[in-house]
Structures are given as C-alpha cells and as structure tokens.
C-alpha cells in the first residue's frame, strides 16, 4: 500500500502536526520508504501466535482505592505556558 499526499495530510491531522505543502511532498516518499521496508513482516508465519502483551511476565498490581497524592496545584501549573486563576488557559473553545 502506498501513502499519497492526501494520506499524509490525514495522518498529520490525526497527529495534530501542521504540515506545509513542501513537507507533505517530502514526507510521502519518506513514509513510503519506511512502510515498504517494514512490509517484510508480512512474510512471517504468525498463525496461532498470540501478540505479546508483557515483555517480562508480570501482573498488574491493584492498590487500595485511597488518595495517595494531591494538593499540588501550583506545582502542576508551574510549567504551563498559560495559567490563569488556578487553571490551564487555552484559546477560546466555545464560540
């Protein structure tokens, strides 16, 4: 399968990365090149093989459902490019 300019724009949209026309032109062959190279996995016989879900056998732990952290609003906001009145500030979302 081949990635065309429209697909590159679609992926960029999904990934929330603005791309110029020139970038689309450069990215299409680059992505095709990489996707063409990983295509060789199609030749592996994976019949009956379960996809890996844990690298090292481990179990997800459960902990008591209690508050273990918090009260750090200022720390959380300290690095925000925009913070107002104790909240993250973003451009207007609702017209």
């Amino acid at each position: 399968m081949s990635v065309d300019a429209a697909t590159v724009r679609h992926i960029a949209k999904l990934a929330r990365i603005a791309v110029s026309d020139a970038e689309v032109g450069a990215l299409a062959p680059e992505l095709n090149n990489i996707l063409g190279w990983v295509e060789q996995l199609q030749e592996v016989d994976v019949e009956g093989v379960e996809p890996m879900t844990a690298v090292i056998p481990n179990r997800l732990r459960l902990r008591d459902d209690v508050v273990t952290d918090g009260g750090k609003r200022d720390d959380v906001l300290a690095n925000a490019p925009g913070a107002e009145h104790g909240f993250f500030a973003v451009p207007k979302v609702i017209e």
Partner: protein, 493 residues
Amino acid sequence: MTDLTDLGIAAIRDGVRDGAFSAREVAGAFSAAVEKGRALNAFTVETPDHALAAAAAADAARASGDLKPLSGVPLGIKDLFATQGVATTAGSRILQGFEPRYESTVGASLFAAGAGMLGKLNMDEFAMGSSNETSAWGPVLSPWRRNDGGNAALTPGGSSGGSAAAVAARLAPGVTGTDTGGSIRQPAAFVGITGIKPTYGRCSRWGIVAFASSLDQAGPMARDVRDCAILLEAMAGFDPKDSTSLDLPVPNWEAALSGDVRGKRIGIPREYRIDGVPAEIDRVWEKGIALMRDAGAEIVEVSLPHTRYALPTYYIIAPAEASSNLARYDGVRYGRRALPENGNLTDMYEATRAEGFGAEVKRRIMIGTYVLSAGFYDAYFNRAQKVRALIARDFERVWEQCDLILTPTAPSAAFALGEKSADPIAMYLNDVFAVPASLAGLPAISVPAGLNDEGLPLGLQLVGRALDEQGVLNAALALEERAGFTARPEPWW
C-alpha cells in the same frame, strides 16, 4: 597526586572513604572538566552546585561515619530524566523551559545513595536517533578521532550520546543512559566504554520522559563493568509508581562480580552474521569468541531464526508507542506553545507540535499514527506484536542450549556526523544487533573489545536471560579482563 578525573566510580568511592581525597576535590575536578569540555556539546545544563552540595554532604558523612554507597561520586544525568528544578528537555525544543517539580525515581535513588549531579546530558530528541544528530541543541561530538590525521567530527552514537561522550572524555566517572533499542549499548561501543541495559522492569520508568514504554529501560554507562554494577545497584528497585516495575529484591551485583566463566555456555547466533558488515566487526567478534574460550567458557553455535525481523518489528512498535506517548505535548501543560494569530485550540496544537518537534520525531509520530489508524492496526501493529512474541520465543528456546549470547554491539565503528542522516533506514540499521534484546526485555551489556584500523573503539554485546544481570556482568568482566582495552581519546577539546 593522580588526576581525579582519571578515577572511576569504585576508585572515587573507595578514595573518599579512605580519606585519600575529599569528595569536594572530586566534584571540583569533574566540574572543571565539564566546563573545559564544552566543545563536545555533551551537556545541555551544567549543575556544579548540585555536585558540590552532594560532595559536601559526603565529606560530612565521612566525618560522622555515615557514608552511603555513592558518597562522593558525581554523575551526569541524561536529559531524559526529570530533574527537580533543573531544565529537562529530552533534547527537544517542545520542552524548552520545562523545569520539573519532581525528581525521577532513578535520579532520586542515585542522589539518596549519595551521588551528586554534574549536569544534564545531551541526547537525540526524545531518544529517537543513533547519532545524536536529532538533538534540538546540536549534535554531541565524540572525543575520538580517526587516526588518519583528519579532524572529521565523529558521532558518539545515540541516543545516549552526551552520556557516552562525557564518560569517554573523563567529564564524568559515570552517567545514566536509557535504552529503547540500543541507546545505551551502541553509544557505549562507539566511544569505548561499558553500558548495560538491565532486564525490562528493573529500573523504574517514573520520571523518565516516555518514548516507547514497553521498551524503555534506564541503565548505567561507565568506564568498566564494576562501575556499571555499582551504579545499577543504586538505580534498580521496585517502584509502585511504575506499573511495569518488577517487585523483586536488587541483587548485590558488585559483591558477586566474578570473571570466572568456566563451564558457561556462550551462544554465537548465526543470524547475526549479516551481509554488508565490515570485516573489522567480524574480527572483533572472533576475538571475543577466542577470549571467552580462553576464559574457559564453552562456545555454542545457536540460531535465533527471527532475528532479521527484529528491526522492522521495532520500527512499528516503537513509533506506535511514541505517537501515543508524545500526544501529551500539546502546548497546554508544559514546554513551548505556538499560537497563530486568531488561532483556535486545534490550530494551537498543530502549530505547537509543528514548531516544537524535529524532523525525525515527526516522522516517527506519523508512522506510529499510521500503523495504529483504523484499517491498518491488524496489518501492522498487531502483526508486529506477534512477531515480537516469536523473537522472544527464539531467546526462550536458545536458553536451553546456552547461558549467554555474544555478538557485536553495532555493525560499524563510529561514523562521521552527516554521513547517515539523509537516509532514515541506514541510520536505523545501527541498532540491528541491539534491538532483539530490547524487544525481548533481556539484560544486555556492551564492553569495549578493541580498536579498528582507524583507531576507533569497537564493542561486543552480551545478552543474558531475564533477570540474569549477574551472568551478563560476570561474562562482561571476563571479556574486559582479557581484552585489556585501555585506549582513550587524545584530548583536543
């Protein structure tokens, strides 16, 4: 008096304990070396005050008899580790200005063990790269040069390139690195130092900027095997804040170090002999095989049939996980924001990410987004996870025939900056020998084994069973003792 920057971790620790020198003197000597070594571009931030404060505490601890395992040892910390109050960028413009309010678990453990921090180490952007050329802050230069009299700037490897250069140039006795698909081992090999990626889950990932969470592992890089064992003991351990952290005691790797490998079976996987690899790599591999045989190990030819699929598998799984992990860089919570005039929220996301990410990171996010997108998930991501299971099964089976695997670390010596940056796949091939152990989560180390005809270091890799860091370290020590690698770069910086 010896130059303190010639000392490794064990020698510094023991010297401070025995009163041969003070921790303050050590911190001062390395901080001066960091400053003098700025031409290498190994550090993104210098923190001499941090190193000095830890040293003062170490000197006080000695006086009061409270020395800790790393008292008096100053370290470099890869910029992927969140450091409280100290800029943390992961080599990316998008995190410019980010000063974490917390310490990574691994960093906190090292500091609690008495270590100080000399500074933050430059790296490929978000650890995506094998040459340090994707760093937003410019490439790190290797302290090594070819012996042809030319001054071609060489890569220290990547992504832990600043880490590698700092140790090789004696700017730090030891450093932290991280390894997702070879990012500790390949740079260690390129600059003639030792670096170990432990079993997945040994070191907490909490507070380490995430790239590919099922692959990312922290590990130490230092001048020799013993120093790596010492650092790894301080870095490893269970952390409830990391859901894949292994709830196991940390062995006393240093105390149990032994170069006695008599009776150990060392597997030589035939699939690692690949076309197009220079003869010098085969030669150093043969040398390693001879040295292990000389040490009393039994050499066994083995097969890891799915090896050739490891790299393409990795280049589906790692970008897929990265595209998800890097979704958090949205210009809202930390780092940079770009907001076009009259732009809405989506415009802000798209402009922030377009401006903040470099070309390789964008490429990988796009690949990851594509392979996870509706209609392609099964063909790419799910299939890759199946092949990954087969790669892990290859190792499971091979452990019936041998205890360790010995291979070259990288398919070449260090190359010149710019030499491979035009072709992503040529760059990816750097990690062809390193990636299988990453996909299987196994402990793997790189040890310097010799120089090539151009006078550049070459490394050998040892891979062990899950949780058998001791076996890996011991075999590495046997190799180190016999390889007698003492070469170091001639200072030009």
